[in-house]
């Protein structure tokens, strides 16, 4: 039981990383980034290509791939997203959705729909004794890294000047601007950062999950549910909801496997009935 709960947290680690990226992007730009899953997939493929074509190992990929894709995110924001944000939100909705399909199909065209091989880093091949039970080392690593990343993002947002500006710009963009802070300057890096987080999750996923063009679209639906549960745009909420949803689906699989497919969405519906803005959301997010 304890082990299963731990399990759920590992699954939740991916939700949390992805949801975190979505939340900062939504908070800062008001854009629901539907291409987030595609960037998660590109992260995993980036790791695969780095290994397959350039012989770069997992650790280098973990350091190199997310910034590179983050940079792609920056370009994307400059060229397209920026032009669409002043318009109806639907435009960016459609744009990012279309982009996801294009990216997916480009990868499909090149590599087919079959999964690609990606080995576990040999340093993390064994198991770790956690006192109460032993657990695959890689999964412990994933959980640890993801928790640290979420914590680091949280600290940056709450303790640093940059974080303060970003939070202020998220909550009251007009007021922040009125105080003489150039909000626009921070929009692009935040978008890139959100994308980099998705890519980071993708690289982490490569050794333990099937690396194929559809891996992102399979996962992202659940992640959207996570973001909604946590409260759209709430950074803390999305992380907490990510881990919580991981936990709930693991326990759901254990006790009521026939329902596990729908459990997350039942949870989402229940949360929305109880708190329409999500667990940690503010009503303002909907304006």
């Amino acid at each position: 039981m304890l082990q299963q709960a731990f399990n759920g947290l590992v699954g939740g680690a991916f939700y949390a990383l992805l949801a975190l990226g979505l939340a900062v992007i939504f908070g800062m730009l008001g854009v629901v980034n539907l291409s987030h899953g595609a960037f998660y997939m590109l992260g995993a493929f980036g790791a695969f290509i780095a290994l397959d074509s350039f012989g770069l190992n997992f650790w280098l990929s973990l350091v190199l791939v997310p910034p590179l894709l983050g940079l792609a995110g920056v370009v994307l924001e400059r060229l397209f997203v920026r032009r669409l944000t002043p318009l109806d939100p639907l435009y960016n909705f459609l744009f990012t959705f279309g982009l996801a399909l294009i990216l997916q199909d480009l990868v499909k065209r090149q590599y087919g729909v079959n999964s690609q091989q990606y080995p576990r880093p040999s340093q993390l091949d064994g198991t770790v004794d956690l006192g109460l039970f032993t657990y695959p080392a890689y999964q412990v690593f994933v959980l640890g890294v993801s928790a640290l990343t979420c914590l680091a993002v949280w600290l940056v947002l709450t303790r640093s000047r940059v974080g303060m500006i970003v939070r202020a710009a998220t909550e009251r963009p007009e007021l922040t601007r009125a105080l003489g802070i150039d909000v626009g300057r921070w929009v692009t890096p935040v978008f890139g950062f959100g994308i980099a987080l998705a890519a980071f999750a993708g690289v982490l996923a490569a050794p333990m999950r099937a690396v194929n063009p559809l891996m992102g679209s399979d996962l992202i639906i659940t992640v959207f549910a996570v973001v909604v549960i946590g409260g759209l745009g709430s950074v803390f909420g999305s992380v907490a909801a990510g881990f919580a949803v991981g936990l709930v689906s693991a326990l759901g699989n254990l006790y009521i496997p026939s329902l596990s497919q729908t459990l997350v969405f039942i949870l989402m519906a229940a949360v929305l009935l109880w708190r329409p803005a999500g667990l940690f959301g503010r009503e303002e997010a909907f304006r």
Binding site: T127, P136, Q139, A210, M215, S249
Partner: protein
């Protein structure tokens, strides 16, 4: 002037004669639209695109070329067209594409159609339009049961074949107790039932069966639970396919279940899955297939030709499409007509051997192709001598034992 008119007349007469006189084997007039049209309808962009998809279209084109080479001038016609369409695994798209292929593009036969729900839709269309449909890609036994009809054939494999070979053989071999996990949709549910039956018949027990969400990328709950079940299962049977299977096997290895005494058996394994995972991830896993490219010299020669064209080794599904197309053309040749009723008559009860189907009979009562199946075992990477050489064939399961011994009584053609 007069001479010219005469020669023109002669030319027209000659052309007319050539048209009516027709080819050998029963007259060109019996070929509708003066050509045979084979249409491959399958998944060309989704999860099954690499197990069949466009490469099966290539395989069908090879069948046409081989047919023409074999009969030359004696061929019933030399106008044979191959069409293809993407059904995206959706029944409603499969249905409308099938109608379009039969009606507007004059397809004489539709081939492949993976995903059982899509196959049922095409079977119904084939029945209504009285056109031939040979399904290669779908697994459901209902195609030769409740959904069977005069114009539909099921060619290659089905869930009975997979379950009765893998389930029974692994159980007899000491894997007496099973924990089965299956994706929660029609294919998984069907596989779970047939596997459970086969295991019990072979003297084994099914400790537990669990549905998993579909698609799913996290199987840790089930994998953690497996060794703790009471009694502890000796075999983890997975009925997953494609990306789900890859996820499950990666995580099975991560939890080191084999070291904990829980072996892995896979319901439906395609050679491209082994390629995705690397043989070591699956080493020792037993599964059943309808064909293997390195089965023997005949299969290998064909696989070489295929690789030269398509760039990869063929999956059994691609070889199945080749065979189905070839046997369709042979039936047209024998009967001298591509009229559906005549082709069906020629196919029913036909016995043959080809690159793909050995000791094969098309059972007249339910239109199921009976042929030899193979129990394979995945080799460890150290034993893999060449690319794609991942499987050791442990045993040939004779045609008579591989498939349902009796037609399903609910089928009436």
């Amino acid at each position: 002037m007069r001479n010219m008119r005469w020669s023109g007349g002669l030319a027209v007469a000659g052309l007319l004669l050539a048209g009516c006189g027709g080819g050998p084997g029963g007259g060109g007039g019996k070929i509708s639209n003066d050509k045979i049209v084979l249409a491959v309808l399958n998944d060309q962009s989704g999860i099954y695109a690499d197990t069949s998809g466009r490469r099966s279209v290539e395989a069908v084109k090879m069948a046409v070329a081989d047919f023409k080479a074999k009969y030359g001038d004696k061929a019933v016609t030399d106008k044979i067209e191959v069409l293809s369409a993407d059904h995206q695994n959706k029944p409603e798209i499969a249905n409308s594409k099938a109608q379009e292929l039969y009606d507007r593009q004059h397809a004489d036969v539709i081939l492949d159609v993976p995903t059982s729900s899509a196959a049922f839709a095409v079977a119904t269309t084939a029945k209504n339009k009285k056109k031939v449909f040979i399904d290669v890609g779908a697994a459901s036994t209902e195609l030769e049961g409740k959904q069977c009809n005069k114009y539909t054939f099921h060619y290659g494999y089905n869930s009975y074949m997979l379950a009765h070979s893998t389930g029974a053989e692994v159980t007899k071999d000491g894997g007496k107790s099973w924990y089965i996990v299956y994706p929660d949709y029609a294919f998984g549910q069907d596989m779970q039932k047939t596997f459970s039956t086969a295991i019990k018949e072979a003297g084994g027990t099914v400790v537990k069966t669990d549905p998993t969400p579909f698609p799913n990328d996290n199987f840790s709950t089930f994998l953690l639970k497996a060794p703790g079940l009471n009694p502890k299962p000796k075999v983890l049977g997975t009925m997953h396919a494609g990306g789900d299977l890859v996820n499950l096997v990666k995580q099975y290895n991560e939890y080191k279940l084999r070291d904990k005494g829980v072996d892995l058996a896979v319901g439906l394994l395609v050679i491209s899955d082994i390629h995705s995972l690397g043989p070591d991830a699956l080493a020792g896993t037993r599964y059943t297939d309808m064909w293997y490219w390195n089965l023997d010299g005949t299969a290998r020669t064909w696989a070489d030709k295929f690789q030269a064209k398509a760039g990869v080794r063929p999956t059994s599904n691609m070889a199945g499409n080749y065979s189905a197309a070839l046997q369709y053309l042979e039936a047209v040749q024998r009967g001298g007509s591509d009229k559906s009723d005549e082709v069906v008559k020629q196919l029913e009860g036909h016995k043959f051997d080809d690159v793909f189907a050995r000791h094969a009979t098309i059972r007249a009562k339910d239109h199921l192709l009976l042929h030899d199946a193979y129990l394979g075992q995945v080799k460890p990477a150290s034993e893999v001598k060449e690319p794609w050489d991942y499987v050791k064939v442990l045993k040939t399961i004779p045609a008579a034992e591989a498939f349902q011994p009796q037609p399903d009584p609910s089928c009436s053609l």
